[in-house]
Symmetry: C2
Subunit: 256 residues, 2 copies
């Protein structure tokens, strides 16, 4: 029975995709078979792992709104052993199409049931909004990891995100818990990073991960080569931090 | 007759709000009466100019989906002379509510007509998606400024954004043009920034602004104090760059 984790935050550019790709890779490297679901019409997780959108014959869109089995769309990244259910441009229309369906919040959950026994973990990369796609991800998930950029606006959005999590827990998925808060793009040179981390720590002392992801240009270069950070530059501070975060994730789940 | 400019890019965190606030301020400082519309339920432009969401009695939501006149919701920022139509949390439900309305793409355009003669420019800060709110902004706009972060994923999203602009031009607003492409968060220390700028320049030699906005921590500190960059630190590289961008905007419009 896979544990399903949603990576969500409606604030844009906080490191959802970067975290989804690199946590999935770290877990795979530690022997945990993990499926990454690219649930964003931007297809960043798909291209970030090296799949051009022309190469994608069927995607998570065809699973969600068509009649494809999820196991038919899953691709394997040779170099890292990561499995991904790719996204496609069609996902741009998914929310409008879902809106008219019965039990529209539970579509993803129903489809994931078919592969739940094939993986230890399923990680869902969400788009920067709290619309029906993110709601579907939260409805399907056992827990949520909230990447938070060490910036003022990212802090502001936290209340809205927590309100949504609460709404989903009370109405759709009573078991949804906060897996953790991962601080991203920490810049040792600025006070702002320190202030934001201190603020989040004071509100969420238990949920905030000890591991903090530093700002590291290698993390933003890697997707241009279609590689996770471990394949791109295994010794850089970004790779060390994401491996650390993967370990913390497993230890919080009592696996190591 | 105000010129209406949408700040749009579905990629998250590329500097839409930072550009909206600081271009509006630069234009106001150069004697052009400018209205900023916060069209994102995150309310970042509203809080970035110092208005806490508890202070907002009525917002752009009440204009769009209620019966408020836009002139009744506009607030003035004392220190900088900037006018803003604030957002509110209600905007999170706006897309679903709009979806059921007749001529749902033209709601904003109809409402802006009432204040068009009161301002030289109206700047619309869009959310990180290509949903009905961004479509409304593109339908109401004369032109679009596309902030593009000097990063791989930001480059990837450009085609999708251009496809949407073309769709809006062909079906809803034949006059919509590209005002310009503004490169943001340029980091002189990385090759990535240079590569992305070169790539965008090769595709859009005329639309890309000569002015490039550097990565500058002051720009991310200012919203925490509710100030535009000119009120926060007028001598920093971020302030100089946004004043430069404001000047380039006016010169491209034949005003200076
Ligand atoms: N720790 C980091 N250091 C440096 N750059 C980073 C880091 N994490 C992410 N980035 C870069 O910052 C940008 C935003 O990150 P990313 O795309 O992962 O965020 P996101 O939350 O998924 O964005 P969206 O809201 O658009 O889905 C990307 O260009 C990415 O390469
Ligand atoms: N030139 C810059 N230098 C440093 N930081 C910047 C710069 N421009 C923006 N930022 C910071 O980067 C983050 C993202 O910027 P901003 O919120 O303006 O982007 P956005 O495109 O409006 O995001 P969203 O997609 O969530 O609406 C913010 O924390 C902001 O303060
Ligand atoms: Mg993403
Ligand atoms: Mg914004």
């Amino acid at each position: 029975m896979a544990k399903i984790v949603a990576l969500a935050n409606q604030k844009g550019g906080v490191g959802k995709t970067t975290t989804a790709i690199n946590i999935t890779s770290a877990l795979s490297k530690m022997g945990q078979k993990t499926l990454l679901i690219d649930f964003d019409s931007q297809c960043n997780a798909t291209s970030g792992l090296g799949f051009a959108h022309e190469e994608i014959e069927s995607s998570i869109y065809d699973v969600l709104l068509g009649d494809q089995d999820i196991s038919n769309v899953v691709l394997r990244v040779e170099s890292s052993g990561v499995f991904i259910a790719p996204s496609s441009r069609d996902m741009a229309g998914a929310e409008v199409e879902l809106a008219g369906m019965i039990s529209r919040e539970m579509c993803l959950k129903r489809k994931l049931a078919a592969v739940s026994d094939d993986y230890a973990f399923i990680i869902i990369d969400c788009p920067p909004s709290l619309g029906l796609l993110t709601i579907n991800a939260l409805a399907a998930a056992d827990s949520i990891i909230m990447p938070i950029q060490c910036e003022y606006y990212a802090l502001e959005g936290l209340t809205q995100l927590l309100d949504t999590v609460k709404l989903v827990r009370e109405n759709i998925n009573w078991g949804l818990i906060i897996e953790g808060i991962l601080m991203t793009m920490w810049d040792y040179r600025t006070n702002l990073s320190r202030q934001v981390v201190d603020e989040v720590t004071s509100f969420f002392p238990n949920e905030i991960y000890r591991t903090v992801i530093p700002r590291n240009v290698k993390l933003s270069e890697a997707p241009g080569f279609g590689k996770d950070i471990f394949s791109y530059d295994p010794l850089c501070s970004g790779a060390k931090a994401y491996m650390e975060a993967g370990r913390e994730f497993l230890s919080r789940n009592g696996i190591i």
